[in-house]
């Protein structure tokens, strides 16, 4: 009986695999990786930099307080004036800043990165492609 369940289950799973393979192959044709916008890096690149990365969370305080990338510093434009002081105290000049926001086009992260470059004249600031949605929780 139990063997029968698993036999049938396996058959169903394999049946689903066939159209999935076709659809997967078809999707790969056009689903080339989205090009990076200026100043963006992929998660894989940030990973390679390892400890040399200082994450900057450009999302809202509420979202940051709920959860964030470990050791990320909160800096957003809603509360820029009050956040920038503590941010600079914690900032380590030897690290590369990588800013992230919720996901999608990440306008907020780009704005924060731009302002770090323009107002504070800190170079080597990047934006995480895909934002928080791209973060894999490690």
């Amino acid at each position: 009986m139990i063997a029968q369940v698993f036999r049938q289950l396996a058959f169903v799973c394999v049946c689903a695999l066939l159209p999935a393979l076709v659809s997967g192959a078809w999707q790969l044709q056009w689903k080339k990786e989205e090009p990076l916008a200026a100043g963006e890096i992929r998660l894989a690149t940030a990973r390679q930099w390892g400890d040399a990365v200082q994450w900057v969370d450009a999302r809202s305080r509420t979202k940051y307080e709920r959860t964030h990338i470990p050791d990320a510093l909160l800096l957003n434009e809603d509360e820029w004036d009050s956040l920038v002081g503590p941010f600079l105290d914690a900032w380590d000049a030897d690290k590369t800043l990588v800013v992230y926001c919720d996901g999608g086009s990440c306008e907020a992260a780009h704005k924060v990165a731009e302002r770090i470059r323009a107002d504070l004249k800190i170079g080597g600031v990047y934006v995480l492609k895909g934002g928080w949605a791209a973060w894999d929780g490690k």
């Binding site: 434009e77 509360e79 004036d81 105290d89 380590d92 000049a93 302002r115 107002d119 504070l120 800190i122």
Partner: protein
């Protein structure tokens, strides 16, 4: 306060002409200039249902948590007008900001309309750079910060005060009301230091603004 009048409003006739029947927007793109003291602004996006059937607005989606969009009601009869009220809360934003609201209706054939609000939040005094810093062990040379008032507005800098005596700041007037230089020089760079330098101005008169220059020895 100041700069209350929209600098220029572009009536986007093109987009109005291209959307067949249904909702026709008077100004889907609006541009404004504001100052940080305004704190927030509201833009009215008016429209008219020029089609032969009622149109229901299904969804308004704004690009930023800082912008909210509101409607008085959802369904508009043929010939009826309405408006989407977009409210943008500046927070501590400066410079040019583009906030969009996507409007989806029950008209499946119509593409969603993007309402485009562009606001230049214009600070009458610019500070470059807002951060001066030294690495520990660096030569303790002075670093300067330029304070520049925009051409439209005279801003006098009255004083600068450092929160940390080991990172003193000195104000020099290059041209009163227009250009000032703040020079910051650490006593030494032997240890980590942190100072916020307050720049007191005379603008606006009723509640003069204080700007902050950050100084660090890292």
């Amino acid at each position: 306060m100041h700069f209350r009048i929209p600098v220029f409003l572009i009536a986007s006739l093109l987009s109005a002409a291209s959307s067949h029947a249904g909702l026709v927007w008077d100004e889907p793109l609006q541009q404004y200039q504001r100052t940080p003291d305004d704190r927030a602004m509201e833009a009215h996006f008016t429209f008219k249902n020029t089609g032969a059937t009622p149109v229901t607005i299904k969804q308004l989606r704004s690009s930023c948590g800082c912008t909210t969009a509101r409607l008085d009601k959802k369904t508009y009869a043929p010939g009826e007008s309405g408006e989407v009220l977009a409210r943008f809360v500046f927070g501590d934003r400066k410079g040019l900001h583009r906030k969009t609201v996507e409007v989806r209706t029950d008209d499946k054939a119509a593409e969603p309309v993007i309402l485009d609000l562009r606001v230049l939040i214009h600070d009458p005094l610019t500070i470059t750079p807002a951060l001066v810093w030294w690495k520990r062990g660096d030569a303790a040379g002075a670093k300067t910060v330029q304070l520049t008032a925009t051409s439209e507005q005279t801003v006098r800098v009255k004083s600068v005060t450092s929160s940390n005596p080991r990172l003193p700041a000195k104000l020099t007037t290059a041209k009163a009301g227009e250009q000032y230089v703040v020079s910051v020089q650490p006593a030494d760079t032997a240890q980590k230091e942190s100072a916020e330098i307050s720049v007191l101005t005379d603008f606006p008169i009723d509640s003069p603004r204080t700007y902050i220059i950050h100084a660090r020895v890292k």
